[in-house]
Amino acid sequence: MATSLPIEPAPRRPRLGSVKRIIGFGLLFLIVIFYLMPLYVMIVTGLKEAAEVTGSTMWRIPTSLSGGGFGEAWRRLSPNLITSIKLVIPATILSALLGSLNGYIFSKWQFRGSNLLFGLLLFGMFIPYQSILIPMLQVLRWLGIYGTLPGLILVHVIYGLPITTLIFRNYYANIPSELVEAARIDGAGMLELYRRIMLPLSIPAFVVVGIFQATNIWNDFLFGLTIITNPNDQPITIALNNLAGSFSVAWNVVMAGAVLAALPTALVYIFLGRYFIRGMLAGSMKG
């Protein structure tokens, strides 16, 4: 029988029998193995020498600690890693700043039709980007930034607006209106309010948006593939895919490359997981 005395803090604690518990943990353990397997394969294969990669030793741990494919992967992919960094930082900052301003207005300065505009804006984050590629490339060409990093940054900033605006709008909506009212009575204008009250309060939202956008842009494939034409200037995901597709590259190098490409977002997830999840739940789109 359930007891719900106030001192019993967790009525949700399951009262499963120990056999069930063992079975449950066994299942959970198998699922954990499934989730870790690709990571294991990537890291272990990357650390091996080419000769050890194929054949019966694929699932074994490496026999030597020579760094395996990582040296070669770094040599091939480091220019692209740098490109990705040079892409992600400005694109993330710009789209976060613009999203913050938009979110502020959509939450605190609504006007006739602003909700409709907001909805139309949000639709932009769900479209398949295939359906805008042809004119986008034409426009970038016309602007003279086709094939360049600024062109790619611009595209990421613009298509990042819906999600950054959404996250900031939700965040600002939870800031009490009394705070805004009080400042207005002091005679602060719209922009002053934003600068003096909202921005200082926005640090957590900026962290969430920053992490979310940085991850999304880092992981993008289609834009980098179609906008940047020079292989040495392409972001890491495109370079990794090319690496995996060329016949002359051994798989230990490809897997080491995959680890390199995954490392930055993985580190963000490991160290800033809490913010990462918040962004994911607020934005929750991938691809």
Binding site: V32, S131, T237, A258, Y269, S284, M285
Partner: protein, 339 residues
């Protein structure tokens, strides 16, 4: 914490009456650069793409004159065996992927809803793949599904095939992504499908793709459900337990119904992700044997850039957009109405 992914936050009290004259125009004015840029890049470009789909732009040379008859390319598109296979693949994949992801996501969330040691570790592991790019996922799984090594080798080394041998069964050595087989053909059951060229069944090569996608995104479903579970008041659980419900009963009869809105959000978000799938398959298998893993996203890319069939690529991308809009627009409209 937001439950629905489009949770629009607390309601906003209108401040219209308090606008000063200059500020009345300032709000839209400040939004204008962002909105104009975005609307051009979204709606303007979609309009242009739609125009291209109706045009004579069928080579590397741009030709924006309209084709006569105007819908020719769409007619051709739906007659193409390849595009028919793409639509089949995307439907099969979406259904499989949604089913498995939601079941696993919900299951993991319920497990992690319990109290036990090491919980944060499990949550960490299950969510980890979400942080990676589809390309990394695709490259890793492509290697794992290599029929000569990878999983098949692991099964062999774990002695699975020996065990199967005891029961008189052959070794388990699927071709995974290289298997062109399409199981079942609805064309034989539904006379109306006679006109279709592609086999209307389940392409087996789509199963490994689904596994990789589930690996990457089930953590997302889990996180959504966990957030949902977190919003269920303790009193509800207590009440259920006071009524003498077992843990199982409590989840089935009380908690699951309360999670319905979360399920709707998860389904909608994942459906649109699934319909747009491109990177993962591009990295894993490309269009696959006999187009067994081809999807509209790849079709658009290849027709547009490899074959310079801009009209055909544009038309297929519009079809993709319509499919996505079908799922997203009602959801979006509802969310915005609740503002």
């Amino acid at each position: 914490m937001a439950v629905s992914s489009l949770e629009t936050g607390a309601p906003v009290e209108p401040k219209r009456s308090r606008f000063r004259l200059s500020e009345k125009w300032l709000a839209p004015l400040l939004l204008a650069p962002s909105l104009i840029a975005l609307f051009v890049f979204v709606y303007g470009f979609i309009g242009f793409t739609f125009w291209v789909s109706l045009s004579n732009w069928r080579s590397a040379t741009r030709d924006l004159s309209l084709r006569d008859p105007i819908w020719t390319v769409y007619e051709r598109l739906f007659q193409m065996p390849r595009f028919q296979a793409d639509l089949r693949n995307i439907v099969v994949y979406t259904i499989l992927f949604l089913l498995v992801t939601v079941v696993i996501g919900l299951g993991l969330a319920i497990v992690l809803d319990q109290q036990f040691a090491g919980k944060p570790f499990f949550r960490f592991v299950f969510l980890f793949p979400y942080a990676l790019s589809f390309i990394v996922t695709g490259v890793a799984w492509r290697w794992i599904f290599n029929p000569e090594i990878g999983l098949n080798l692991l099964f062999e080394q774990l002695g699975l095939n020996r065990v199967l041998g005891w029961f008189g069964m052959g070794p388990f050595k699927p071709g995974w992504l290289t298997n062109p087989t399409v199981v079942g053909d609805m064309r034989t059951w539904f006379p109306g499908m006679d006109g279709l060229f592609a086999q209307m069944g389940i392409p087996l090569a789509m199963i490994p793709v689904t596994i990789a996608a589930v690996w990457q995104l089930s953590g997302f479903a889990m996180a959504m459900y966990l957030a949902g579970l977190g919003t269920i008041p303790m009193e509800v659980r207590e009440a259920a337990q006071l009524d003498g419900a077992s843990t199982m009963q409590m989840y089935r009869q009380v908690i699951l119904p309360l999670l319905k809105p979360v399920t709707v959000s998860v389904l909608i978000i994942l459906t649109h992700v699934s319909l747009k799938i491109f990177d993962l398959i591009y990295a894993m298998s490309g269009s696959g044997p006999g187009f067994a893993t081809d999807v509209p996203g790849i079709f658009v890319f290849e027709q547009t850039f490899r074959a310079t069939r801009y009209d055909l690529g544009a038309a297929a991308s519009i079809v993709m957009l319509v499919l996505v809009a079908f799922v997203i627009v009602p959801y979006l409209a509802r969310s915005v109405k609740e503002l």
